[in-house]
């Protein structure tokens, strides 16, 4: 078992598609929000939407950490490199995301700032050890999946007595964002974005487990199925949601049992709890200020907190005019509703974060050409 090809098998996809067509009640409409950008891309890359009957529709959620980071935080990271003169270590995903004034980490790097792309927090530590006379800041972004590696790095820096390493923490929390979407009056009011059930995160859940979603399923009476990122996982999870909705159930079910348990990864959770604590509120692009939706570094590790170590101006930056990223992130608009989509905004010249990230909805629409479908088609005919 290689855990990849088996979950992309064509025959099983057809079996699952037939089961979904048979079990989806033609009198109902099923709107299923996939929280994660990873699911959005699986749906587009493998044409999963095309295998669904017309009344089963995927609504794309805000689960793209690059997309939800407000521009002001990228401006702050640029400030650290440009004004404070630090070596700024960033995951590759962030480099091309537009900041204020049509800048980006990549452009600032080209202009001479010391910005280094890292694959792992371990690389950032190596850079700090090799440059003891420089300040080295790790630009930490991501959901619960990416937080434990940052916690490990901070603990190692403490253990190794690294005095020139710090973290600009932008780690955000998935359950808070889901709750925010469910409570949003705009979403409740708009029939178009009524959500019947959730495909739950794959790898976030590998860390936090399936237990944290039990509250929403109960409180908002919406079924949640934790779904793997492969196309057959997405289809099986859609089928499980349809079965729950048909039966009037709203439970947390787990399709991704090969990785996710109810408790999650206890060791990773303990490390995160040791190093981080909740922020009272954090700004998300598209969702605004979301209470208790992000983490900051605890007092005991304050010396590794770039926000305490440096004077960072709080910038209130606005999105590019006409860019619909905020509405797309909330699920109230589709990429094709944006005037900039595919005209001035493309992956080669992105105006908004959703076009940059490999998890963004705009990048998914563009990369797999699904938006080129003629109006009025059912989606069943082949897309040339």
């Amino acid at each position: 078992l290689k855990y990849i090809e088996e979950f992309r098998a064509r025959e099983l996809a057809q079996t699952l598609a037939a089961a979904i067509r048979r079990e989806a009640d033609p009198r109902r409409h099923y709107r299923l929000m996939e929280f994660c950008g990873g699911h959005t891309h699986a749906i587009f890359r493998y044409g999963v939407q095309d295998l669904m009957p017309d009344n089963v529709q995927f609504v794309h959620g805000p689960g793209c950490p690059v997309c939800v980071l407000p521009i002001g935080r990228i401006d702050a990271a640029i400030h650290l490199a440009e004004v404070q003169g630090a070596i700024l270590c960033s995951y590759g995903d962030m480099l091309r995301v537009p900041a204020s004034g049509r800048r980006s980490l990549l452009k600032v790097k080209a202009a001479g700032a010391d910005i280094r792309m890292v694959y792992s927090t371990q690389d950032a530590l190596k850079i700090a050890r090799a440059n003891r006379d420089r300040e080295v800041v790790f630009f930490a972004i991501g959901f619960e999946t990416t937080t434990p590696p940052t916690a490990v790095a901070i603990r190692q820096a403490a253990a190794q007595g690294l005095t020139n390493f710090s973290v600009f923490c932008n780690h955000v929390l998935t359950p808070a964002a889901i709750q925010n979407i469910l409570e949003s009056p705009e979403l409740r009011a708009m029939e178009r974005v009524r959500i019947d059930g959730f495909l739950g995160p794959s790898h976030v859940s590998a860390v936090i487990g399936s237990q944290p979603y039990e509250f929403f399923a109960e409180e908002f009476q919406k079924p949640v199925v934790i779904a793997g990122f492969e196309p057959l996982d997405v289809m099986q999870s859609a089928l499980m949601l349809i079965r729950q909705l048909n039966a009037g159930r709203h439970e947390v079910e787990n399709e991704y049992t090969r990785v996710v348990t109810r408790e999650g990864n206890r060791k990773a959770k303990a490390l995160v709890a040791e190093v981080f604590e909740l922020r009272r509120a954090f700004e998300w692009r598209g969702l605004g200020l979301v209470p208790y939706s992000a983490l900051r570094i605890k007092q005991a590790y304050a010396r590794f907190d770039a926000e305490r170590r440096f004077e960072i101006p709080a910038v209130q930056a606005s999105d590019v005019k006409g860019c619909e990223c905020p509405a797309i992130i909330r699920g109230v608009k589709n990429p094709t509703d944006c005037k900039l989509f595919g005209t001035v905004c493309t992956p080669d010249n992105p105006m908004g974060s959703c076009m940059v990230s490999t998890e963004g909805a705009c990048a998914a629409y563009w990369s797999y050409g699904r938006f080129r479908r003629p109006a009025g088609s059912t989606g069943m005919e082949s897309v040339a």
Binding site: T15, L16, T121, Q122, P149, H203, S357
Partner: protein, 78 residues
């Protein structure tokens, strides 16, 4: 950002904190700081240079069986 790849553990380094894994034909050194009791030939989920979890072969087989079962009418098989 949350993407992670299943990889086979090829060897575990002497101090137990690092391992070499194989993804397809590519070998890579990763950290085991977030997992416990990982052994050679286990499959782990690799994310930004860290093993995030061990994959369960038993559960994977069970899920594959569920996919095939979907072809049966509800009540037929399960």
């Amino acid at each position: 950002m949350c993407l992670a790849l299943p990889a086979r553990v090829v060897s575990i380094h002497a101090n137990g904190d690092l391992a070499t894994v194989a993804v397809g034909g590519v070998r890579k050194e990763i950290s085991l700081a977030l997992v416990e009791d990982v052994q050679v030939d286990d499959y782990v989920l690799v994310h930004v240079g860290y093993a995030l979890n061990r994959l369960s072969e038993e559960e994977a087989q069970h899920t594959l069986a569920l996919f095939a079962e979907a072809g049966l009418m509800p009540g037929d098989g399960s």
